[in-house]
Symmetry: D2
Subunit: 281 residues, 4 copies
């Protein structure tokens, strides 16, 4: 059956090879597709090639993908993504700033996503979430082994088949087993300017160290705690008058803005992950 | 005579047309050129297409340019630039921060340019400039009509045939006639976050207005005073404890960094001008 | 009747005079008050003195104020403020980002204020506001003279006796008569880095101008449109790939953060207004 | 002998005690001194009190200090500093950006200091330094034990009796013995956003980690490498297109601005060190 669409994001990752752009743009040309925007990057160290084109015209997704796959090296990855709302599930604990920022953007129609549910290990945020007409699923970890708790969370997640899981200040560490169920699909906001102050209470650490700037890092979650590919970072200045709670308060503004920025980048298919890094177009 | 080179910057500006990227990359491919980096942009409002590719391989500049011109629409502009040191002349008055920053970078080998001379309407900076082994040309404006002064400056400039003229806090307004002698070739640092506080003593104006941030703008000079295409901007925070001289002092750091950043962008052929705007790749 | 309290913010504005700090700190000392924090500023141009002290101990507000008034010059203003929740009313039109950010902070307990109501000239935001259990008052301006509309808004405001009115993207211009009803009490977020791009659609203006940075300004509202004393400003970088709607979208993040930051400063009695400027401690 | 002066910076560090501000301002008042600016800070965790007042009038330094010492607790430190040019020695290796930035500010009269000499372990920068009429002392470390090299450097330093030593990209690690010769007097610029990426080639580390922001930290040198009290920090955004050399190049701009900012703060006696932190007024 033919599926005619108007616009697609073409995402290619490949070994770099002479003529790649030529071959890909030839496919676009022969399909009478307009290139609305186009960005490429070659990582010199690894020889990897990345390309994100937004094309418009009349085409079949499967057919276009087939033609592109023939144009690129064998090991290459080609995705043809029709822009549209992705499915996300948010996970939280009890802090509302990052979660609330996403909810407001959602209510505002700013997010190109449907929030299927919010899963939390505390029930603090239930009334906030429910105000937005979103299912709030409380899965307490009290008295449960970590594996059992994660098993229950995974069971809920499975029902929603989310494209991405957003940890909006979810304060529990995920096991490698959990992470491997959603590889490259879990986005976290780290309350620090990575790689600084890994671990518990980074604001306390930042305060003790007397820093003059604090930051936040949005990253994909991998097995290494706080060590996944960085999507976005930002900072704000602080000074000696900030105690660690003031730093935390100031940090919240950076955290929420950085997480929402990262989420929008991911929802717009602007982020390629390779090794422990990202290309952000 | 054949002129074989290894690397070139290909700069194309054109009406947007389907197949443009295809045709250009076909030329690269048929000449066995590697694309080291490639950036494109289409301005939706005006339908203009911009492309900057860095290619490497064996080729003749003239031949490559000819082939590219055949591949693009008739009105398109195609430049094939061999990376290399451009010739610049700096113009200054008496403030040393922006000039000095460029001189230090020059001494450091950071600038891909030769500073042919510094032309100033005061002699305050002569010893600083001469320390760097650069000709300092003092052309006083005292008792001269504006046109006569500019005539003398132009006469000196002519000797050096500069690719770009950098106004490093040159505090005189240039006439349209002067500007038209070097269209798109004169870079200025404006001591304000344009379009705010146009005209004399913007720091005084900023102080009076009680702003909490001050900025600087590097732009190409056009007939409209302080209104040319913006290349780079940046800001720093200030507060009520800053009087206007403090703001000026703080502003100097932004001014020099922004001007040097803009200069490097221009020297690397990363800036396209169209209408009153720039595309900065 | 004695009103014993533990902590107060002492806010003094005065002509500068030798011995002022001495006389004020003498009052604190003689009342056995601890100075938890203390900030002073003298504006050299106007000779105005500003002081904000947080003191703790046992005291009567009225008595302390009386003693302080005796210690300072006759024209001085002395306020002894017991920290506590202020009453605010928000005004909005149809954009939710600034309003939503305040609501989330409110729900989070971050604001030292009670939001008495949201007044809007459209009903777009009613469901969002009501989710937070806050009265939403829709006063349409359709078919009404400006004065009549404002009369109705003022009538509602009067019921709440707000300490501050926050214009969270309220898109109507207030008349001098309205403003004079709440002098120094109305906070606005201007969608631009003042003084640039005053008036309608500043993002469109910023786009046309090709700026590389956009900003937002929170300020007190005075009779001069967009010209009141600035409380806070911030910026974010943009580039040629942003059309004006992208700039607007990016600008929203700055707008909401700047407005909330300004609101918190005001609620903490950290902002003095003098002339067309602010001192922000 | 009487030493009458017009203006002084009074710097007090003490255990916090009720009435401190009162007692100190009483001394000012009784000496008919104007307070031009005044900043205080109490660190709640440690109960330390910091005060920096700029006073003007007629007074003797020794007499004023004596009176102030009587007004404060026994363990307090009181310094009465007459504003004036401090003596500094710069130390460098072969990179010119941080050194050059200081030299240009020096030539410009912006620094309230005399640069007595530049000491370097390479001779790369000799011609740059000598252009500014400043003694360049090359003390090669080739074939020398660390202690012997430092002994020679210390011998030179001794001749100049510097108030501060500025490590402007001095790429050798100082021994605790060296540091203890100038406690709280050595300022370093760390090519990273501390505490991240301590040690060799932080730009390489930052690149490997795929960070989106890089920074620089100016700090006092203590025995712990890269761990002294932070004076100033700043950052700039980078992205995937930066290889580590690009990051290094971009980082230089932050490094030099941050170091010069820290130096100016120190020269203006605005920095108190306590424990491993600073109070920066």
């Amino acid at each position: 059956m033919k599926e005619k669409v108007k616009r697609a994001r073409v995402l290619i990752e490949s070994e770099d090879r002479m003529g790649l752009v030529y071959r890909v743009s030839k496919v676009f040309y022969e399909n009478s597709l307009n290139i609305d925007s186009n960005r490429e990057f070659v990582d010199k160290e690894t020889g990897r090639f990345f390309m994100r084109s937004v094309v418009s015209g009349e085409f079949e997704v499967a057919g276009l993908q087939r033609e592109l796959l023939e144009a690129v090296p064998e090991d290459a990855s080609v995705r043809v993504v029709i822009p549209g709302r992705k499915k996300i599930v948010l996970m939280a604990t009890k802090e509302s700033h990052a979660l609330g920022d996403i909810l407001i953007r959602y209510a505002d129609g700013e997010l190109d996503a449907d929030i299927e549910a919010v899963i939390a290990n505390r029930d603090t945020l239930s009334s906030l979430v429910e105000r937005f007409g979103i299912p709030f699923i409380h899965i307490s970890a009290e008295g449960l082994e970590r594996e059992e708790h994660e098993r229950r969370v995974l069971a809920e997640l499975k029902r929603y088949e989310p494209d991405y899981i957003v940890l909006a200040k979810y304060m529990r560490i995920l096991t490698p087993s959990f992470v491997s169920s959603y590889p490259g699909k879990i986005i976290n906001i780290h309350h620090s300017f990575l790689p600084a102050f890994i671990g518990a209470n980074p604001y306390r650490q930042a305060y003790e160290r007397g820093v003059k700037i604090i930051g936040a890092t949005a990253h994909f979650v991998t097995d290494d705690l706080d060590e996944g590919p960085i999507i976005a970072q930002d900072v704000i200045p602080v000074n000696h008058r900030y105690d660690w709670r003031d730093m935390q308060r100031a940090g919240r503004d950076v955290e929420k803005i950085v997480l929402s920025r990262a989420l929008n980048l991911v929802l717009n298919d602007r982020v390629f992950v390779y090794g422990n890094k990202t290309v952000v177009f």
